[in-house]
């Protein structure tokens, strides 16, 4: 576990991340969007700052109403920002109409043209760009092959299934070879199995086309498994941008830690030398987020899989009593009430060797080396 984590510290993905900063495809600079005026004014996006690189699978993740769709609409050009710039290869396009932007969208409800066949839908973009007929025909076939829909080229869009419509929408958006592809929760209408299939399919398409994908979801699992980088949003602000690993292992804010996976928060007092004296009774080494020098009271975050139950009284462990144990087959979640009354969850792998703990039993909670991190709030 530890080894895997250390390995990921210098994963190729993060080295890619450095390259992205050099030449972003899309650069969102201090973008704000305010709906309405006066007392009815509502800030849907608040000084959003994102750089997205060549060939990147970038995800906007956040709860309903946090502004994901609004941001996507600004990038597509269906709406204009109140303030700020949207740069495509360094050029501000924030005020260009959508039909002048080399950016295409896969809509949540697919928005296929019902009076056209599958093939006509896929060819529409190229037709509008005035490409020669032969080129369009070739490209349509190529795109339909890419999404494995060649057999249904002459069907009407009302005569194909939801998953197939999804593929057509993808092919249609990819056909004009946009610089950036926007996808607004494209999988949310599909059932579980199909969704898993399409997740793999999307990754494959992104890899094969080399187009920058900006993907919107409120499903954290989907975000973690598919993305090169994720921006976690809340209330119109971007809270943290990083790889799935970064976001999961090194959340900088309480919201991020809470939104993604299960987690423990412990309060404490910062001490010198990068350690925190927890209210629950022990001193643990904890790293602060980058560019943040904490002092006084802080919150420390520890993932449930980065702690172990040890015999009560073990040196350096937090003393507590087991308040609940939930069996999940491969692992068991122990809820421990610590000395200061806070709840702590430990996820323990079930193996023949691991001891089970009775409810009410006194135990110690040992935190893995380097697993505790200070939060910015």
């Amino acid at each position: 576990m530890q080894a895997a984590k250390l390995g990921a510290e210098t994963s190729p993905r993060e080295r890619e991340g450095a390259a992205q900063e050099a030449a972003p495809v899309i650069s969102i600079r201090e973008v704000s969007k305010v709906f309405g005026q006066g007392v009815a004014a509502f800030t849907a996006l608040d000084r959003v700052q994102i750089d997205i690189g060549q060939n990147e699978f970038f995800t906007l993740l956040g709860p309903s109403g946090c502004g994901k769709t609004t941001l996507l609409r600004l990038i597509a050009g269906f709406d204009y920002p109140t303030m700020g710039e949207i740069r495509l290869f360094g050029q501000d396009i924030a005020r260009q109409p959508p039909f002048k932007r080399p950016i295409n969208t896969v809509f949540q409800n697919y928005a296929l043209f019902p009076h056209m066949t599958v093939g006509q839908n896929v060819g529409f973009g190229l037709e509008m760009l005035g490409r020669p007929k032969a080129e369009i025909a070739g490209r349509v076939d190529e795109m339909l092959r890419l999404v494995r829909m060649e057999a249904l080229k002459d069907r009407r869009t009302s005569e194909i299934s939801g998953g197939q419509q999804q593929r057509v929408a993808l092919a249609r958006a990819l056909a004009p070879q946009p610089k950036v592809l926007l996808l607004d929760e494209p999988l949310s209408a599909l059932d579980y199995k199909l969704r898993k299939e399409m997740q793999i399919e999307l990754k494959r398409l992104q890899h094969e086309t080399g187009i920058t994908f900006i993907f919107v979801t409120h499903d954290q699992e989907e975000a973690l498994t598919m993305s090169d980088r994720i921006a976690v949003m809340s209330g119109g602000r971007v809270l943290q941008i990083g790889s799935a690993h970064d976001i999961y292992e090194r959340p900088t804010e309480r919201f991020v830690a809470n939104f993604i996976g299960e987690t423990n928060f412990l309060e404490g007092q910062v001490q010198g030398g990068g350690s925190v004296a927890l209210d629950a009774g022990s001193v643990v080494p904890a790293l602060p987020p980058e560019g943040f020098a904490p002092s006084g009271r802080v919150t420390v975050v520890i993932r449930p899989e980065h702690a172990r139950l040890v015999p009560s009284g073990t040196a350096g462990s937090l003393a507590g009593t087991v308040s609940n144990a939930v069996y999940f087959g491969t692992d068991t979640h122990y809820h421990v009430t610590l000395g200061d009354g806070s709840e702590f969850m430990v996820r323990q792998q079930n193996s023949r060797a691991s001891a089970s703990h009775e409810i009410g039993a006194p135990v110690g909670v040992a935190i893995d080396e380097g697993a505790a991190r200070m939060l910015r709030d």
Binding site: P98, K100, I103, T105, F113, F124
Partner: protein, 271 residues
């Protein structure tokens, strides 16, 4: 939650069958009788003598009938084309734009003619044309009738077009713009084709309404501007022959064919 009630089967309600039969009889028996007597070989409308197409022959050789039919077609086609175009623009202007001040008022104004008693509109229109003829010396001849018909056709054309527009998914417009279609191309390639069934229904309705309008036409029509309904009205004030039945049947057939065609077109587009 609450138990879902089985949908009520209207056919089991007491009296449903007899009510339905009475309604159908009242609606259709007179029309059937009228059609039947158009094939009467005798020359009295109410006395059956034998089957023949005689009166159709008479009708088709009647110059007055043809001139009335010609007037009717000129007026109905012109009024339909103008009213449908205006209604399409109005519907677009009232659904595909940012809500503007006076939108509700505009909607009211557009649909008011449906609520005003036709005889009131007729008198008003007549006075209007009399006024501009008297003060400005303007008389558009059959144009007067076309203008009058256009006006009362607009709300009939507007309704189905607006309904269709409101049903339409606006993300389709966004999708087209996203795929490099400038606004007018989006309109021509996406909005208009999808709106076509609504426009067809609107046009069919306008045509029928104009085709058989009596009250307004009667008041506004000048000499030599007899339309089919006016012609029939004039005929039945004289001793009636089954020629009238034949003419009415022809009229009915034209209506039925039109409605059927527009229905089929709509059905095909919907698919």
């Amino acid at each position: 939650m609450a138990k879902r009630r089985a949908p009520l089967d209207i056919k089991v309600l007491p009296g449903f069958a007899s009510m339905a039969v009475i309604c159908l009889l009242v609606l259709y028996v007179p029309i059937l009788v009228l059609m039947l007597f158009s094939f009467n070989s005798g020359n009295i409308v109410t006395h059956w003598e034998g089957i023949s197409l005689h009166w159709y022959g008479v009708a088709l050789q009647n110059d007055e009938f043809f001139s009335a039919a010609e007037n009717t077609m000129i007026i109905a086609v012109s009024a339909t084309v103008i009213a449908t175009s205006v209604a399409t623009l109005a519907a677009l202007g009232m659904t595909r734009v940012k809500p503007w001040k006076g939108l509700t008022a505009a909607f009211m104004v557009l649909n008011l003619p449906l609520m005003v008693p036709e005889i009131v509109t007729a008198v008003a229109t007549l006075s209007f044309f009399a006024l501009i003829a008297g003060k400005l010396g303007l008389n558009f001849g059959i144009g007067n009738l076309i203008i009058a018909h256009t006006v009362f056709c607009i709300p009939f054309a507007y309704m189905p077009i607006k309904a269709r527009l409101e049903d339409m998914d606006t993300t389709l417009d966004h999708a087209a713009a996203d795929l490099y279609a400038p606004p007018w191309k989006t309109f021509r390639r996406i909005t208009l084709p999808l709106l076509a069934p609504g426009i067809m229904s609107g046009a069919a309705l306008s045509f029928i309404v104009s085709f058989d309008d009596f009250t307004i036409t009667q008041l506004v029509a000048g000499p030599g501007q007899t339309t089919l309904p006016l012609y029939i009205w004039n005929q039945i004030r004289r001793p009636m022959t089954p020629e009238i039945n034949a003419i009415s049947t022809i009229l009915l057939m034209v209506s039925i064919v039109l409605v059927a065609v527009s229905f089929l077109v709509t059905l095909k587009k919907r698919r």
